[in-house]
């Protein structure tokens, strides 16, 4: 009987140690989940990349026709300005106005070729080219990019294939 009582007392102490261990694990779980929930930023890069792509599309096709200005020499240098874009960003970490990249290419329409793409006629790039390589790695924290292609007519009803790629990085404020 004495043995049992002693043993019971010991097992109670042992139980309380386990109880604190369980409490600690539960607390660690709660803290981890709360930090995870409140620590992960809202990732808006997909929406941003889509909007950027739409903005460039609207710039290339105006009044339902392909904008003739894009064929003019020197368009690439004034691409951002002509399309009403600015790639300046806030001061954050190591950001240096290098968080966006956008490019477009205009191909002649050729239905004998793959994707109806004939020869390349013109194109332009703006922003941080390095993001294009990073985007192609498809890693979890890679910059977010969207590609889109569509057909467009000019005022003489000549058909073209337009390809646009927009990439948004902003790592740190959208993904950690």
């Amino acid at each position: 009987m004495n043995f049992l009582i002693k043993n019971k007392h010991g097992s109670e102490k042992l139980l309380s140690v386990y109880w604190f261990a369980i409490l600690f694990i539960v607390a660690a779980g709660i803290v981890y989940m709360a930090l995870l929930f409140y620590g992960i930023p809202y990732d808006v890069r997909e929406a941003e990349a889509n909007l950027l792509l739409n903005k460039v599309s609207d710039c290339l096709v105006q009044n339902q026709y392909l904008n003739n200005e894009i064929f003019l020499e020197g368009f690439e240098e004034t691409f951002l300005e002509k399309c009403g874009l600015t790639f300046e960003v806030e001061n954050f970490g190591e950001w240096k106005d290098d968080q966006y990249y956008v490019e477009f290419f205009i191909f002649s329409f050729d239905d004998t070729q793959e994707k109806n793409k004939g020869g390349i006629l013109t194109g332009a790039k703006a922003g941080e080219f390095h993001l294009r390589d990073l985007h192609s790695t498809k890693l979890d924290k890679s910059p977010f990019g969207i590609e889109r292609s569509f057909y467009a007519l000019d005022e003489s009803n000549v058909m073209y294939v337009v390809e646009i790629l927009s990439i948004v990085n902003k790592e740190g404020k959208n993904v950690r």
Binding site: F20, L35, Y38, V44, N54, K55, L85, E88, E90, Y100
Partner: protein, 125 residues
Amino acid sequence: MQKKGEMLTENVVFIILNLAFFAIIILFLFLKMGSAAPIEEKYAKQIALLVDAARPGMLISLDISEAVEKAEDKDWPLEKIISIEDNVVMIQLRDDGYYVYSFFNDVDVQVSDILEGDKIELKIK
């Protein structure tokens, strides 16, 4: 008798420690839930995306009641909640922090005062 007294003390200490433990956990969760930072981030990004999608001449009305409520809790002046400089939106609801997010649409944005129903208007120029 002495043994019973010891057991009682042990149990009381045990219960107090447990209660303290849970109180700390609950306090931590409430502190996290009541933080102004996620609200600042949400509105800054929302406004930046709205401006990115907008065209010159548009007038955008936005309900910011959650931000107004938080600013009032923190005694932060309501006229200082939103500011837009160049292409950067800044939302501030407290003394010790703020959130900024940029937009790529090269437009001028004029922010109204807080209107009835805790709304603001963004005039895109």
